[in-house]
């Protein structure tokens, strides 16, 4: 792999950009691998990369039914933060945030991580108490998070309407300055390039249709649209389709798959300096480096795999955006899309062993999986390599729904996640 650098750009500029090489290879599958990962999103590709880099396991394939990064990795609103309430959540999201900080250098790929700050608006006394509890929990745990008055919030985000007569008045805000955004496609591409360079096979347009098991129940490999591929270990990281894939091995997981929508506006000049979320009126918004306002809407109420969603969900969010930021009322929206999120009953992810020997699962990231990409991938690789979870992910087991030891971020984080 030729490294990217300012010298590479200068060299290619001198020769009409004819020297760039393909970022990853697309080999035919081998008959078997040490590890197969189902799903080439950020989490799956990242896990393959860390398996090769940190655990020396390079005989790995990542199998993807569509195209690389075409699922939720390419469909989210790219928000990164780690200000969760419970220690199990703070552990994994803060691990992830620390990896984000060095990810571009690690991968030699500009993932455009931008710690521009994530602000969560408080609209009432309940919000204020809840956010201050989060802030205190975060700071005691060594994670930055701070309380802003409405005036301080306005100074940080000038388009914000803090008038007392506003439809949704603001009585303060929580700000995590290290939070921000990254370029979602670049994360998938960067991991794919770095993993491919270390010998990982990335097999796109290859749908897993079954999981073959041996006489003792252990996994033998996967049936795919390109035939049977053997594997000693299988890691399922298939987001909204995780329960479909796990069902192939006879494992039921407590997931609801629902559409989650996002939309972007026409490009504007730089006007919006950070990410703003409002859980109470359900809106979140940031501005991409291309200039589009990136707006996240809510999930539909019913199970669906349609990768679309109801129009009323979007209009509900835009109603709130227009009230919070009156300056955006006449901005035109350009594109809208949906992704399928896999939601657990406690809104915390599942990462761990399964009752099937050799089968590991990483799912349930719901509406907030992008921010966790490097951390989740890193710990999933550890799980697959060692056969048991890393300390930082020890609470995320599938078994918690039997023991009752839930991580109830559903109550802690309300809707936006």
């Amino acid at each position: 792999m030729r490294r990217y650098s300012v010298f590479a750009v200068a060299r290619e500029a001198m020769r009409a950009h004819k020297g760039w090489e393909a970022q990853w290879t697309s080999p035919e599958p081998r008959s078997s691998y040490d590890v197969i990962i189902v799903g080439a999103g950020g989490h799956g590709l990242g896990a393959a990369y860390y398996l090769a880099k940190e655990h020396g396991i390079t005989n790995v394939a990542v199998i993807e039914k569509g195209w690389l990064g075409g699922g939720n990795t390419g469909r989210n609103t790219t928000i990164i933060r780690s200000n969760y309430l419970y220690e199990e959540s703070m552990d994994i999201y803060e691990h992830s945030l620390k990896l984000w900080e060095g990810l571009s250098q690690d991968l030699n790929y500009n993932v455009m991580y931008s710690p521009r700050g994530v602000m969560m608006l408080s609209h009432n006394t309940h919000d204020m108490q809840s956010f201050k509890r989060h802030i205190n929990a975060n700071r005691l745990y060594g994670i930055d998070n701070e309380w802003l008055t409405p005036e301080q919030a306005k100074a940080y985000v000038p388009p914000l309407d803090i008038a007392k007569t506003a439809r949704y008045p603001i009585n303060g805000a929580a700000l995590q300055r290290r939070g921000g955004t990254a370029r979602h496609d670049a994360v998938a591409w960067g991991y794919a390039r770095a993993a491919s360079d270390r010998g990982v096979h990335i097999i796109q347009n290859c749908e897993v249709t079954g999981i073959r098991r041996g006489p003792n129940g252990e996994v033998l490999g996967v049936e795919t649209s390109k035939g049977f591929i053997g594997a000693q270990k299988i890691g399922v990281s298939a987001a909204g389709h995780s329960s479909v894939v796990m069902e192939m091995a006879g494992v039921r997981v407590p997931l609801h798959s629902t559409p989650l929508q996002a939309l972007v506006s026409e490009p504007l000049k730089p006007i919006f300096p950070c990410v703003v979320m409002s859980n109470t009126v359900h809106a979140y918004i940031s501005q991409s480096d291309k200039g589009e306002l990136v707006i996240g809407a809510g999930t539909d109420q019913y199970n669906s795999y349609s990768q679309t969603g109801g129009l009323q969900i979007i209009t509900h969010t835009l109603d709130a955006i227009c009230e919070l930021f009156p300056i955006f009322r006449r901005v035109k929206m350009m594109r809208q899309w949906g992704g399928i999120t896999d939601n657990t009953p406690d809104r915390s992810p599942i990462q761990g062993v399964t009752p099937v020997p050799g089968l590991f699962v990483n799912c349930g990231w719901g509406t907030g999986g992008f921010k966790a990409t490097p951390g989740s991938a890193n710990l999933f690789a550890h799980l697959i390599a060692k056969g048991e979870p890393h300390r930082l992910a020890a609470g995320l087991t599938l078994d918690r729904f039997r023991t009752g030891r839930l991580i109830d971020e559903a109550a802690a984080a309300a809707v936006a996640h």
Partner: protein, 113 residues
């Protein structure tokens, strides 16, 4: 937005009037204090989450207020049938997951009745 037929009101109404209420035909164990943790997790948390034909409950919360059951394709979001609570599961042939989604137009909403 979905257009849903309430079997009690016998009308097709907008999804805004309804609240989704999870998988249908799940029986609460009668001896709930005696069942094992595995059985409780199965009853309380594990759901089919089908891709394709699914049976689910809806509640006409801003209408008659009553719960009913529906059979729906989770890929196209098309309702195959709705029926009153307490009726047995309406067995339908598995349609197979189709990747095509259904567009809803105002025109079809107008003459859906």
């Amino acid at each position: 937005m979905l257009l849903i037929h309430c079997p009690y009101c016998e009308e097709d109404r907008s999804e805004l009037e309804f609240r989704w209420a999870g998988e249908a035909h799940i029986a609460r164990p009668e001896n709930i204090a005696a069942i094992s943790d595995e059985e409780f997790a199965e009853y309380f948390f594990l759901r089919n989450n089908e891709k394709g034909l699914t049976y689910e409950r809806w509640r006409h919360i801003h209408g008659c207020g009553r719960f009913f059951n529906a059979a729906r394709d989770t890929v196209s979001d098309r309702f195959l049938t709705t029926y009153k609570a307490g009726m047995p599961k309406q067995l339908l042939p598995e349609t197979g997951a189709s990747e095509k989604t259904v567009e809803t137009y105002e025109a079809t909403e107008g003459d859906a009745r």
